[in-house]
Amino acid sequence: MTGQKLPKSFSELAPFVAQGWALATERERVAKRCSSTMEELTEFYDAVLPKVDEIMTYLDALPLNDLPEDAQRLLDLTFSLAEASMSVERYQQPGVVDGFDPERFLPFSPFGQVP
């Protein structure tokens, strides 16, 4: 998705879309997390965390398998939040402490595509 728009009520999160946090695949989200600084991760985390309940209330009114583009972008932002939370809440660094190289731990989809 190349657009930048979010649903109107979440337009204050638009800067994070512009910074490239709305990503469609797990690999892209891992790469973004691991190439960000703790300052960037923390800023993103602090901004989106308080919005999670509001985001879910908004998205749950829409059909999951047919989300409008701007709503899908919003959901993708929360997936990046899951990544950022690991850095901010647990590791105090972008990547896993003493972890296996994520490039050697590759997603695949035996049951059809999961991004």
Partner: protein, 408 residues
């Protein structure tokens, strides 16, 4: 009430002081030889006595739900490639993935849906039941009977939606017999409804047995997962993640992990828990077959099918590991976590949170395995010193040894 002593000599009371190894006196309590079991010679014997003769999990039936759906599973240790196909009659069949003309690999990997499989080399064509149905320029052959040159079958059976193959042309027992009491206990766990799958794969530069033994004990948890799971699986009552239940079957194993009911969730974990399953969601609504001890402080069970397959069941989800030997010091792994398909965005979010947390925890586990391989390869230590919580490692190595030495 028993006593556990922490690394600083501090004594703590524990409810989890049972000595499981005493229930299995045949295992003994001595150090266990391991370095001698990482050689090419031992690996070849494992191939001949274990991987060529055991029922091996290759996937789930939902992967090939429709007629003609197929996937290929290579079994490198046996130099085998197996083609799994759903037939017109609904049956799942396994075939050696080898053309019967000049023995070329028939399907070059992956998965998909086909009514026929055509060899890239000379166009011999087989249907979804393995019959040879097309031979280009058939008149040029001498006495070719197509009905006798279908694909070579591999014994294939399904238990609770899990597809297993056995490379022995005449398996000495059925899959049901092989799984035995272990399978009976998990017969009613709701695997069928959990069809959303998040999966990872790759190679580990370590022996397959070291991969198995990184995941069937809890003793490592405080040291390997201090930041990702600081108190999820431990508390003052159970400092060292001792099992809440252990059962060793003749070949298979179960180890129930403790969950700390007072574990503090992180901010996002707490939000995620409102919307979907978390790692240790407790025994509430505990599915049949899970939490055999009925302990209210239960997280999940590691259920290990000999030789190389884990089915770890939690309350609302489960995950599996397959460890495929490639060489004495190389293993291909697949990790899959399964959830009930999300109906809402918030459920999908909770899955993503669980997927990311499990992935990062596993990155911590997998990293230890290559260090163990390197340490053992140095030759300084020949044996493991195993404590009671590591009883499944003792049992797994013993079961391997029994096969290799033809005692089974």
């Amino acid at each position: 009430m028993d006593v556990a002593v922490d690394g600083n000599g501090k004594r703590m009371e524990t409810d989890y002081g049972k000595r499981w190894t005493q229930d299995y006196p045949e295992l003994g309590t001595d150090p266990v030889p391991v370095a001698s079991r990482l050689t090419q010679e031992y690996f070849d014997r494992e191939r001949d006595t274990i991987f060529s003769k055991s029922w091996l999990n290759v996937g789930r039936e939902e992967q090939i739900a429709e007629t003609g759906d197929f996937f290929v599973q290579d079994i490198a240790v046996c130099k085998a490639s197996v083609l799994l196909v759903r037939g017109k009659d609904g049956e799942i069949r396994g075939f050696h993935n080898v053309c019967t003309h000049r023995a070329s690999k028939l399907v070059w990997g992956g998965s998909g849906c086909k009514r026929t499989f055509t060899c890239k080399f000379h166009g011999w064509t087989f249907d979804e039941s393995g019959q040879l149905v097309g031979v280009p320029d058939e008149d040029g052959f001498y006495c070719l009977d197509k009905s006798e040159n279908g694909l070579v079958r591999v014994a294939t059976e399904v238990w609770n939606g899990f597809i297993f193959v056995n490379l022995d042309p005449n398996p000495k027992e059925s899959l049901q017999e092989y799984l035995g009491e272990w399978g009976e206990r998990l017969a009613d766990y709701p695997f069928q409804g959990r069809t959303t799958c998040y999966a990872y794969q790759g190679e580990i530069n370590a022996n397959w047995k070291l991969c198995v033994s990184a995941f069937n004990e809890g003793y490592h948890v405080p040291f390997v997962h201090p930041m990702s799971a600081p108190e999820t699986f431990r508390s003052k009552k159970n400092l060292f993640c001792r099992p809440i239940w252990v059962k060793l079957y003749p070949r298979h194993q179960t180890y129930s992990f403790y969950a700390n009911p007072d574990s503090k969730m992180t901010a996002l974990e707490a939000l995620s828990a409102k919307y979907g399953p978390i790692v240790s969601s407790g025994p509430l609504g505990c599915p049949p077959g899970a939490n055999p001890a009925g302990d209210p402080d239960w997280a999940l069970d590691a259920n290990v099918v000999f030789p190389n397959f884990f089915v770890d069941v939690a309350n609302d989800w489960y995950f599996t590991y397959n460890f495929w030997p490639i060489a004495p010091d190389r293993t291909f792994y697949q990790v899959k976590s399964y959830f009930v398909p999300p109906k809402t965005a918030s459920e999908r979010f909770a899955h993503e949170y669980g997927r990311v947390l499990l992935r990062d925890v596993l990155l911590e586990d997998v990293e230890t395995i290559e260090h163990t391989q390197l340490g053992l390869a140095s030759g300084v230590r020949s044996h493991y010193i195993l404590q009671d919580s590591e009883i499944l490692i003792r049992h797994h190595l013993k079961t391997v040894e029994n096969h290799v030495e033809n005692r089974v």
